[in-house]
C-alpha cells in the first residue's frame, strides 16, 4: 500500500488448477464464470500479477451481479474456473473506458463475452503460480509450505531468488557493469518496460541500455525494452516490469513462500529489431525516422501505434498532402482486416475535431475500401454519412448525394443522414423530398433543431395552402414518435365540486432523460381532461442543462411552488406528483396524476373566472379576465354583488402556447402548454379587489416583447456560464396561444380556481 492503510484480504486459497490463457490485444486474458447471490455469468478478465488490486469489475457488470447491496455493502463473489474456484469478498472499481474500448476492438477474439475486469496481485499472491504461455495455460496451486532447503536445480532451467515489495514480486537484474537492480514480474502489458528516467540518464532514450541479465539469461537477447514512466519502488532500485513478451519465451514458476522463480526456456531468443527501431524513432520524435521505420517493417507488431503517431505528428507539423496521405495509408495498412472501416470512422472523428475535411475524406475513402468486411456493419454507413456531410459542405453535390443515399440505405432512421439529405434536396430545389427528410430528422435530438429550421425554410416553398405550424409537424410525425392518449375522457362526477377547475402544472426540461415519460403522462391528462375541468401549464427548468424553452417566468413559478427538479407535476399549486421516469411507467404516472386531480376537484370553491374577448392583432395579445365570487349557499349562477378586497388571494394570468417545437435529448418533440410570460405586471399576480361583486382585468401584451425578453434572458444565462443552447422556438405562434387564469391563496399556496381559453384563429380571415 502507498501508506500502509489496513485493507481486508480479498480472497482465501484452498484449491488450485489450470486456467487456459490467451494473449488478446497484447493482454493476458482468461475466461471464467463469475457468480453472486443473484446470478452466474461467463466473463473475460485480464490477468495481471503487477496490478495492485484484487478483483476489479466494470460497474455495469457489478450492478448486474448486485455486487453491492442497496446500502452499498459489498457482497462476496465467486470466480469459477474449470478445476477450482476463488471466493472474493468484494470487488473494486474497474477502468470502464478501457474495458469498453478493448471489448469494442477485440470482441471477435474474445467470443461473446466482454472483458469486464482484472484479477490482480491481491488475489494472486495467495497462489503458487506458473505461467506457461507456450502451452496456453496458467497454473494456480495452493501455496507451498516453507521449505528448509533451497529448491533443486534442474538442468536447462534458471533459478532466481525473489523479493517482495508492495505486493509485487521482483527478480534481480544486473547491468553489464554488475550493478544490481530489480525488475518486477508483471505481464499486464506486452512490452517489457524500462524506467524512462533511468534510460535517459544512461543516454539510452530508446531503452537500449545494453546487457540486462536475469541470472544467466541475457534479457537483451530476447526483447527490446520499452522506455515508459515507472511508478514503482524497490530498495535495489526498480528498473522495470517484465511483459508478456518475456513470458512468451519462458515458462515461469513462482514460489512466493520460498521466494524463488524457476525459468525454463520455451522459445529460442529472437531479438525484435523492429521494436527497437520503433523505440528509437519514438524517442527522437522525428517523423522522417518514423516513416522510414514503417516502410522498412510492413509487418511490425508496433506498426499500428507507429502509424498513428506518424499521422498526428504530420498533422501537427502541418505536413503536406503527400505526407498526410502516406501516413493515412500506413494507419489503414496496420489496422485489423475486419476493423478498417471502424478504425477509419474513429480516425475521422479525431480529424473532424480539427476541421481537417480533406484528411477526413482521405481517411473515409480508405475505410470504405474494406467496409464490407468490417465486423460492425454500421461503420461503413456512418462513413458514408460523414463523407456526404463533408462533400455537402464543400458543395460537391453529386458526391454528397451518392454517399448520403448509401448511408440512408443502411441507416434509414439516422437523424444526421436525413438532415443532410434534406439539406441536399433543398439545395437542389427538390423541396418535397427535402421536407420529407427534415421530418424524419426532426424527431432525433442530434438533428432535431436544425431539421425544424429546415422545415420552416422549405415548407413555404411547397406551394401548399397550409403554412408551417406546430400542428402540421405534429401530423407529419404521428406514428414516428411515442404518444399517449387516455382510454376514456373525463365524465362529470358528483363528488367533484361544481364549477371547479384544477390547474395541472408540469415542470420539466428538454434535455432530461426520463422526461418523455412525464410528457406522455401529461399528454394523457390533456386528452382525458380535454373538455373537462382542468387547465394546463408547463415550465422548463435549468437542470440538467439549459434549453431554449427555459424562461424566467417558469423559474419564478418553480420557486413559488417549491420545485427544484424538473420531473414534477403540481396540482393546484400544492400537491406534488411524478413528472418523469421510465417510458414504460407512463401509464402508472398518468393514473396517479389523474387520481390526484380528482382529489383536488373535490374541494369546493366560490371563485368564478372567465377569460373573454381573447384576440391577437398586429402582434399583440389582448383580452380580459373577470373574477367573481359565488355567494355562500347560492347556486353557481348567482354571484355576489359586494365590494371586497382579498389581500391574501392573487389573480394570475398567464400566456402559454399549446404546442412548441423543440426536439431535445429528452425525445419530446412538441412541448405542450408552455407558459411564456405573465400577463399581469408580475408573476405573483394581482391582489383581488371586487367591486360590485367582480373584478375585471384587461390585459394587453406584445408577443415580440415577450420573445425578446426570453431571448435576452437566455443569452445572459449563457454568457454567465449557466449552459449553452440553440436559440430556437422563442417566437410565439398566435395560432398556438392559450391564456390561463387562476386564483391563488398566498397563505396556503393553494390554487382555488382556474380557467383556460385557447386562441381561436379565424381560418377564413387567415386565408
Amino acid at each position: 500500500m502507498l501508506l500502509a492503510l489496513a485493507t481486508a484480504p480479498p480472497s482465501a486459497c484452498q484449491e488450485g488448477g489450470r486456467i487456459p490463457v490467451r494473449v488478446v490485444g497484447e493482454r493476458l486474458l482468461i475466461s471464467c464464470d463469475i457468480s453472486s447471490h443473484k446470478m452466474r455469468v461467463p466473463v473475460n478478465l485480464f490477468f495481471e500479477l503487477d496490478a495492485l488490486c484484487g478483483l476489479q469489475l466494470h460497474n455495469k457488470a457489478a450492478a448486474s451481479l448486485e455486487a453491492e447491496s442497496g446500502d452499498g455493502q459489498p457482497r462476496p463473489l465467486t470466480l469459477h474456473f474449470p478445476e477450482f474456484q476463488i471466493e472474493v469478498p468484494r470487488r473494486e472499481h474497474g477502468d470502464e473506458d478501457l474495458l469498453d474500448e478493448f471489448t469494442k476492438y477485440f470482441s471477435a477474439d474474445m467470443g461473446e463475452d466482454a472483458v469486464v475486469g482484472t484479477i490482480g496481485a491481491q488475489i494472486l499472491k495467495d497462489y503458487h503460480l506458473t505461467y506457461d504461455l507456450a502451452r496456453g495455460y496458467l497454473a494456480l496451486e495452493p501455496k507451498h509450505e516453507l521449505a528448509q532447503e533451497k529448491p533443486t536445480p534442474i538442468p536447462g532451467t534458471v533459478l532466481l531468488s525473489l523479493t517482495e515489495e508492495n505486493e509485487l514480486l521482483w527478480m534481480p537484474a544486473r547491468l553489464k557493469d554488475g550493478t544490481q537492480y530489480a525488475i518486477a514480474i508483471g505481464a499486464s502489458r506486452y512490452d517489457t518496460i524500462v524506467d524512462q528516467d533511468f534510460a535517459y540518464a544512461l543516454g539510452a532514450p530508446a531503452g537500449n541500455i545494453g546487457e540486462l541479465n536475469l541470472g544467466e539469461i541475457a534479457l537483451d537477447d530476447y526483447l527490446a525494452l520499452r522506455p515508459e514512466e515507472l511508478v514503482l519502488t524497490h530498495p535495489d532500485r526498480a528498473i522495470g516490469v517484465l511483459g508478456i513478451n518475456f513470458f512468451r519465451h519462458f515458462r515461469v514458476e513462482i514460489d512466493r513462500v520460498n521466494r524463488w522463480a524457476r525459468l525454463t526456456p520455451t522459445e529460442p531468443p529472437e531479438f525484435p529489431q523492429d521494436d527497437l527501431a520503433f523505440f528509437h524513432a519514438r524517442a527522437d520524435e522525428d517523423p522522417e525516422m518514423l516513416q522510414a521505420f514503417l516502410e522498412q517493417w510492413p509487418q511490425a507488431r508496433l506498426g499500428k501505434e507507429a502509424a498513428q503517431l506518424l499521422l498526428f505528428w504530420r498533422i501537427d507539423d502541418a505536413g503536406n498532402e503527400e505526407q498526410i496521405r502516406k501516413a493515412l495509408a500506413f494507419v489503414d495498412h496496420f489496422e485489423q482486416d475486419d476493423l478498417r472501416a471502424t478504425g477509419a470512422l474513429d480516425l475521422m472523428k479525431i480529424l473532424a475535431g480539427d476541421g481537417w475535411k480533406d484528411y477526413q475524406i482521405w481517411a473515409g475513402e480508405l475505410g470504405l475500401i474494406s467496409g464490407r468486411n468490417d465486423r460492425y456493419p454500421d461503420a461503413v454507413h456512418k462513413i458514408h454519412s460523414k463523407l456526404g456531410e463533408i462533400h455537402l459542405a464543400k458543395n460537391h453535390s453529386e458526391q454528397a448525394w451518392r454517399h448520403l443515399l448509401s448511408a440512408a440505405f443502411g441507416m434509414p432512421d439516422d437523424g444526421m443522414i436525413n438532415l443532410n439529405l434534406g439539406n441536399y434536396y433543398e439545395q437542389q430545389g427538390r423541396y418535397r423530398r427535402a421536407f420529407s427528410r427534415f421530418v424524419q430528422a426532426s424527431i432525433v435530438p442530434e438533428s432535431g433543431p436544425q431539421a425544424v429550421e429546415g422545415l420552416m425554410r422549405v415548407q413555404p416553398k411547397l406551394g401548399s395552402e397550409e403554412a408551417f405550424s406546430v400542428d402540421l409537424v405534429e401530423r407529419m410525425i404521428e406514428g414516428k414518435v411515442l404518444n399517449f392518449g387516455a382510454a376514456a375522457a373525463y365524465e362529470a362526477n358528483e363528488d367533484h365540486a361544481k364549477g371547479k377547475v384544477s390547474l395541472i402544472e408540469f415542470f420539466t426540461n428538454g434535455q432530461l432523460e426520463g422526461a418523455e415519460a412525464g410528457a406522455l403522462a401529461n399528454e394523457g391528462l390533456l386528452s382525458h381532461f380535454k373538455d373537462g375541468p382542468a387547465a394546463f401549464l408547463s415550465y422548463h427548468l435549468e437542470k440538467p442543462g439549459l434549453d431554449p424553452l427555459v424562461q424566467p417566468y417558469g423559474l419564478a413559478i418553480a420557486a413559488e411552488r417549491h420545485v427544484s427538479n424538473p420531473y414534477v407535476h403540481v396540482i393546484d399549486g400544492v400537491a406534488h406528483g411524478p413528472g418523469g421516469g421510465r417510458t414504460r411507467d407512463r401509464e402508472a404516472i398518468y393514473s396517479r396524476l389523474r387520481d390526484m386531480t380528482y382529489q383536488a376537484l373535490k374541494l369546493e370553491t366560490t371563485w368564478r373566472l372567465k377569460v373573454e374577448d381573447l384576440r391577437v392583432e398586429d402582434g399583440w395579445v389582448r383580452g380580459k379576465v373577470t373574477v367573481a365570487q359565488q355567494s355562500e349557499g347560492a347556486s353557481s349562477a348567482e354571484i355576489g354583488a359586494s365590494d371586497e378586497t382579498f389581500s391574501d388571494h392573487r389573480l394570475c394570468v398567464v400566456l402559454a402556447e399549446r404546442g412548441v417545437l423543440f426536439p431535445g435529448s429528452s425525445k419530446v418533440v412538441i412541448h405542450r402548454m408552455l407558459a411564456r410570460a405573465a400577463l399581469t405586471p408580475g408573476h405573483a399576480g394581482l391582489e383581488i379587489e371586487l367591486q360590485d361583486g367582480q373584478m375585471v382585468f384587461e390585459f394587453e401584451e406584445s408577443l415580440a416583447k415577450i420573445q425578446k425578453q426570453n431571448e435576452t434572458w437566455l443569452q445572459q444565462a449563457m454568457d454567465a456560464g449557466k449552459g449553452q443552447t440553440v436559440l430556437m422556438s422563442t417566437a410565439l405562434d398566435p395560432e398556438q396561444l392559450s391564456v390561463v387564469a387562476y386564483i391563488r391563496s398566498t397563505s396556503t399556496g393553494r390554487i382555488e380556481q382556474a380557467t383556460q381559453v385557447h386562441h381561436q384563429v379565424d381560418q377564413e380571415a387567415k386565408l
Partner: protein
C-alpha cells in the same frame, strides 16, 4: 591545469554562468494526462478569445453539439459532438493553439491542450498556459513541468533543474525561454527523499509564504538549493503502479529556509485518519466523504485512485475493548 580543474569544480551542475535563451516548440497532447496545480476550463460562450494572440474564434450551438470556427475566418470548420473533444485553433500566420473541450450541465468549456517544450542540458522543460488565455509565462498563473513526468507545478520566477536553482523568463507568446543563474540568498531543503512510505514521489511541491516561489522537488535527491524564505508543503502526488494519491497542505507546518542553512521536511507515514460517524440506535454509519487522512507532517492525503480500497472501521466495546463489528466502504467508493 589546477586552476582549470578548480574552475570546473565550482561550475554549477548545468554549467550556467550567464543567461541562455532556448527556443520552445509546441507539442500537442491529444490525450491530455498532465496534472495541473489548478486546472480550469473556460466557458465557451459565443467565442473563444485568446488574449495573448488577440485572436477570436466564433462558436455556436447545433443542438447540443458545438460548432467552432477554427481558423478565425468566420466560417464554421468543425462540429464537436458528444461530451468531449479536441480541436486545433490556427491561422495562416502559423499560429497554433490546441484545446481540449468538455461538455457538462453548464455547457461547453475549453482548456489548453499543448505544451511549449525545450530540452536543455538533458532536462525536458514544458511550459503550460494553465489559465488558457494564450499568454505564456505568467508567474503564479501558468504551470511548468520539468522532466518527463506528468505532474506540473506553478510557474515561478525560478526553478530547480538538475538540482540547480536557476531563474527563468518565458516569452509571452511561448516562443522562447531564458535561463539565468539565480541571484539572491539561498538555503537547502531536503524533501523528496525524506518521504516515508512505499510509493514513488511523483510530485512534491513547496510554496513560499509570499507566493513568489514554488518548486516541485520530486526526483531531486538530497538537499536542494532554493531561495531563502518561509515555505510550506503545498501539494504532491504519490504513486505505486496503478495506485495514486494526491497530497495537499492539510495541517502542515511552515519551515524557514535561511541563508546557507539546510533543512529537512519529513513527511509520509504514519498516517492518521480523522472521520465522522452517525449513530442511530444500534446502527452506526460512516461516509467516504467524511474521512480525512493526515501524514506525519500534517499533510493531507485525498483522491485515492483507484476507488474501491477502503479502510476498515472496527467498533469495540468501550470498557472491554471487545470487537463488536467491522465496516468497510463498498467497491464503488
Amino acid at each position: 591545469m589546477i586552476s582549470a580543474l578548480l574552475a570546473l569544480s565550482i561550475l554549477p551542475p548545468n554549467g550556467l554562468t550567464e543567461p541562455v535563451t532556448v527556443a520552445l516548440a509546441p507539442k500537442r497532447h491529444r490525450d491530455w494526462k498532465i496534472e495541473l496545480p489548478a486546472e480550469s476550463f473556460v466557458p465557451v460562450g459565443n467565442s473563444i478569445q485568446l488574449a495573448g494572440s488577440g485572436l477570436k474564434f466564433a462558436v455556436s450551438m447545433q443542438g447540443t453539439n458545438l460548432s467552432i470556427d477554427l481558423d478565425g475566418d468566420g466560417i464554421s470548420d468543425t462540429v464537436i459532438e458528444g461530451d468531449e473533444g479536441s480541436a486545433l485553433l490556427r491561422n495562416n500566420n502559423g499560429f497554433r493553439y490546441a484545446i481540449r473541450l468538455l461538455r457538462n450541465e453548464n455547457g461547453w468549456s475549453y482548456a489548453s491542450s499543448s505544451t511549449m517544450n525545450a530540452d536543455w542540458n538533458g532536462a525536458r522543460i514544458s511550459v503550460i498556459d494553465q489559465d488558457n488565455d494564450g499568454v505564456f509565462g505568467e508567474v503564479g498563473e501558468d504551470a511548468i513541468l520539468i522532466g518527463r513526468g506528468r505532474v506540473a507545478t506553478w510557474l515561478g520566477q525560478s526553478i530547480v533543474i538538475n538540482g540547480e536553482l536557476v531563474q527563468i523568463d518565458v516569452a509571452k507568446d511561448g516562443s522562447q525561454l531564458t535561463v539565468s543563474p539565480f541571484q539572491g540568498e539561498t538555503g537547502r531543503l531536503r524533501l523528496a527523499d525524506s518521504f516515508h512510505g512505499d510509493g514513488k514521489v511523483l510530485s512534491a511541491v513547496i510554496r513560499s509564504a509570499d507566493g513568489k516561489n514554488c518548486f516541485d522537488l520530486a526526483g531531486q535527491t538530497g538537499a536542494v538549493e532554493i531561495p531563502t524564505g518561509r515555505y510550506r508543503f503545498y501539494s504532491g502526488k504519490v504513486g505505486l503502479g496503478q495506485m495514486a494519491v494526491h497530497v495537499s497542505s492539510g495541517k502542515s507546518q511552515t519551515i524557514d529556509v535561511a541563508n546557507g542553512s539546510e533543512a529537512s521536511l519529513s513527511w509520509g507515514g504514519d498516517v492518521n485518519a480523522e472521520f465522522g460517524f452517525q449513530r442511530q440506535g444500534d446502527q452506526v454509519a460512516f461516509s467516504p466523504q467524511d474521512i480525512r487522512y493526515f501524514g506525519s507532517q500534517g499533510e493531507e492525503y485525498s483522491n485515492w485512485f483507484p476507488v474501491g480500497k477502503s479502510p476498515v472501521f472496527i467498533i469495540k466495546e468501550a470498557d472491554t475493548k471487545q470487537e463488536i463489528a467491522r465496516a468497510m466502504f463498498p467497491g464503488s467508493c
